[in-house]
């Protein structure tokens, strides 16, 4: 089993090399090859799931990989999986497989480059979730920017260049701050063999360390927690650093929006869970209320911005900001329910937002616009419910999952989060409930304007969902419904690891 993680990590690279070698004209060969590749990756992750021991906290010994890479600097090629990263790995492989299917007909130019970059992206995302060496984690974190830049910039919407550059520069800035933190940690541990080992760094060894900067004594732990926080907060995105998100989401093609919202945003919160909280638990506790308030601002501000949007994709983008605010709230709670809820919300938001973006992509294929209300005031859509019944049903499932309706997966995670934060931050809980209400409001209002009412003349020409489109929506529908009623398969994975993290935080 030791090689399984390496296989999962490098399988997309094999796929990318294959796509590059296929001649430019044979586009369907490329698409089939990529599909087979992602299906194999998905199967491997299912194998990983089945062999995963759900009772042990911490890294699963069976899957650990640790090979010296640059031995002189104690940099290892180290991979590992535990309860927090396994749901993310499953989510990644599922979403990428569906994205290949979604891009089958939607991407029309430079197909070779598109699929090659997409598979490269998948490998780098796996790398981030699996890396147990800090340097390796950083390399994968940065490399992810390159395919994203090109994917948004070449195949995106009208304003794609601005979005791609903004995304790149913003995220690059955050990760560079993280780099300073990484190097500082390397020296603080005395450059031993374990200085980049994320596991060895965990556990709060740096609480007593202090730095002299310009004559003022600053706590090492607090300063670098803030650096790491900014680096991850740009990715989540947390309120002041979220301005790249609407542009990137709106301008990216459908499949890339799905990946961005479904997977890449989770990398930020994963960073908190894997790195910022365990390595600096005292600072995490210290800044806990601040994180909670920032999460609340995310929830309310994202929801209010979403309410004001006329572009459907931008609306869902802001709703992503809002939902990630819930994850931040759960993280700030630092108790069992809250953190379990946060990790579960990461998985659930991935699936439900992915559904929403897929749906918007499908309607964009037909209408070539995304306006709920056109700039001149006329309606963009209207009466879709009668014209496209299958589409509307799947849209309803996605929308209600996003809203947090009981019976669908979003409810479980949000309920757990609220249970978690109620005791510590009661005011925030009440205000977040208002955010939940606003969330329902804008989603239902959007649905009303698009699907109900008089049929818009243009809508009459739209065809309902093709078999391919239904094909890639079904897995997400099943996921959302099944995990809404019976969340145990996902929830049980994370309990042990989250419990370990919570008990670590509790000791500080």
């Amino acid at each position: 089993m030791h090689g399984l993680l390496s296989w999962i990590l490098w399988m997309p690279i094999i796929g990318m090399l294959g796509v590059l070698l296929i001649p430019k004209e044979k586009t369907s060969a490329m698409k089939w090859w990529s599909l087979v590749n992602t299906v194999i990756t998905f199967a491997l992750t299912i194998v990983l799931y089945c062999n995963f021991n759900q009772a042990t906290p911490g890294m699963q010994e069976a899957f650990n990989v640790r090979i010296p890479w640059i031995a002189q600097f104690n940099i290892f090629y180290a991979l590992g999986v535990d309860g927090i990263s396994l749901p993310m790995i499953l989510l990644t492989s599922l979403l990428f497989m569906l994205c290949i299917l979604s891009s089958w007909t939607q991407i029309k130019k430079s197909i070779k480059g598109y699929f090659a970059l997409l598979l490269l992206l998948q490998s780098t995302v796996f790398g981030v979730f699996m890396a147990m060496d800090f340097f390796l984690f950083y390399v994968y974190w940065e490399v992810m920017l390159i395919p994203m830049f090109f994917l948004i910039g070449v195949w995106g919407g009208e304003n794609r260049e601005y979005a791609a550059v903004k995304f790149f520069l913003y995220t690059f800035f955050g990760s560079l701050l993280m780099l300073v933190g990484i190097v500082a940690l390397y020296f603080a541990t005395g450059q031993t063999e374990n200085s980049f080992n994320i596991l060895a760094l965990q556990g709060g060894h740096f609480t007593k360390l202090n730095l002299e900067i310009f004559g003022a004594t600053v706590s090492f732990s607090k300063l670098f927690f803030i650096f790491m926080f900014v680096g991850f907060a740009i990715k989540v995105p947390v309120f002041p650093f979220h301005t790249w998100l609407p542009h990137a989401h709106v301008q990216a093609p459908t499949a890339i929006s799905v990946i961005l919202a479904g997977v890449l945003l989770k990398m930020g919160t994963y960073g908190f869970l894997r790195i910022a909280f365990p390595i600096f638990p005292d600072s995490a506790k210290y800044f806990g209320p601040a994180i909670a308030w920032l999460g609340l601002i995310n929830v309310i501000y994202g929801a209010l911005c979403a309410m004001a949007q006329t572009d459907v994709k931008k609306l869902i983008a802001y709703s992503s900001v809002s939902h990630m605010g819930f994850v931040m709230l759960g993280l700030a709670a630092m108790n069992v329910q809250g953190m379990n809820g946060a990790v579960l919300q990461m998985f659930n938001h991935g699936t439900s937002t992915a559904m929403m973006f897929f749906m918007i992509g499908i309607i964009y294929e037909r209408s070539h616009h995304r306006y709920i209300v056109r700039p001149d005031g006329s309606r963009g859509f209207g009466g879709l419910y009668t014209q496209l019944p299958v589409y509307s049903i799947i849209f309803i499932i996605g929308m209600f999952a996003s809203m947090g309706l009981p019976g669908l997966s979003g409810f479980i995670s949000e309920a757990l989060i609220f249970l978690g934060i109620y005791e510590k931050f009661t005011t925030i809980t009440i205000l977040a409930l208002i955010g939940l209400l606003i969330g329902a409001a804008y989603l239902l209002w959007m649905f009303k304007r698009m699907f109900f009412g008089d049929v818009n003349p243009e809508v009459k020409d739209y065809t309902d969902m093709t078999k391919l489109e239904i094909g890639y929506m079904i897995p997400l529908c099943i996921t959302v419904i099944v995990f809404g009623i019976f969340p145990a398969p996902i929830l049980n994975i994370m309990k042990a690891s989250v419990g370990q993290l919570v008990s670590l935080l509790a000791t500080f």
Binding site: Q72, V139, E142
Partner: protein, 488 residues
Amino acid sequence: MYLNYLANISRYIPEILLVGLMVGLILIETTYKEDDKNKRYIFIAAIVGLIATFVSLVANLSGKPEAIFSNSMIIDPFSTSMKMIMVLGTLGSYYLSTISKDVYESLKTEFIIMAVGILIGGFILASANNMLMIFIGIETLSILSYVMASLKKNDERSSEAGLKYALYGGISSGLMLFGMSHMFGVLGTIQFSGMAATIATLDKAQMLILMPSFVLFFAGIGYKIAAVPFHMWSPDVYEGSPTPVTTLFAIVPKLAGIAALIRVTMIFFATPGPLRVGWVGLVMVIAALTMTVGNITAIGQKSVKRMLAYSSISHAGIMLAGLVMINEIGIRAVVFYAITYLFMTLVAFYITSIVQDKYGNDHFDRFQGLIYRYPFMAVMMTVVMLSLTGLPPLAGFVGKYNIIVALINSRNFTLAIILVLNSVISAYYYLKIVRLMTLKPQESNEKIEGFGFLNQLIIVAMTVPVLTLGIFWENVMAFAGSAKVFIQ
């Protein structure tokens, strides 16, 4: 005594080979008439000569470090490594001159003759152990550079470049001599070792005179490596000179100046004291300024060569930041960075030169849509631009990472943060070329003759180190670590 000198010559073979090469090329060029056969002979002779120099440098690496010619030059692994990088840079820019239209046909031999002369100057500078040698090295470098900058005889920008370089260089040499004369006056000797020994015994008044003279001395070397505020000549000279000459300028004088600076720093400022505090403060401020000014001014440029000039200013600033540590970790980081900088600069200038030859100017828009016409070349340029930014898993990232490691090792957090912020600023203008090449549609479907199979192969061969050094950098790092400065 002369037996001693004869023995020293065995360590001095690379320079002698270069002098022989220069003399031989002058003789061949003037005695035989100009036709294609002789041009080919000259080409082969130059390449063979440079490769022979490289081989003799490798042989020099295995000998033990020593001070030759009565302690006026030092042959140690550090200077030999920097010389190897300089020879590779000259080789690269020479091949570029043979394929570039910027260097006139009749002047292609003169290019290599003067380039070899510049290389000799750089070698002297890298090995210098007393002030006279530093001055000789800088002057040899500079005077030939003035001529090479104005190599495009009929172009007014080229003449302007040469004139600006000459005036600026003359003043800087004068200032440097002024500083050196004061240093001699206070310390009584021009030999670095003697000066370092006397510094320990100085009193306060003498230190007060010595510090400004060190600043003037730094001004002379800083002008050569285009550090702020001595950088104003650099964009005009880089833009006006023919592109192969710019490639040479971006590599050889910069690395030679940094090598001399490292040696001076290691000898004089190894022991703590008020002078060391002053010097470290000076270099820190100049490094920070250089990085920032280079990056910020590069954003507004419309000409690619000018942008590359400003970016090489900022890279020199990063190497200066590596200098601040005055220990082996810093030197190792700087040597590794120099190796990565060599390949990145060569590829960037190659592609710019070939595109410029086709269209006559090097405006950013000439790169539009390159990925549809020449996908390989566009990918190589993208790789090099991203590497210059400092993005993993490319070589530029590893170089910057090592300098950040060295900075944080000696607790220079401010400089590390400034370096990191400058990476983000530089990302903006490097991405501009990448954007134009990949995201915009192509202007025209014309063939660019310079991108023949051989040239593309050479460009790919030069990009391969950029890719591999990003992932498998341990061996080269060990090599950089063995480049120790020998102090005598």
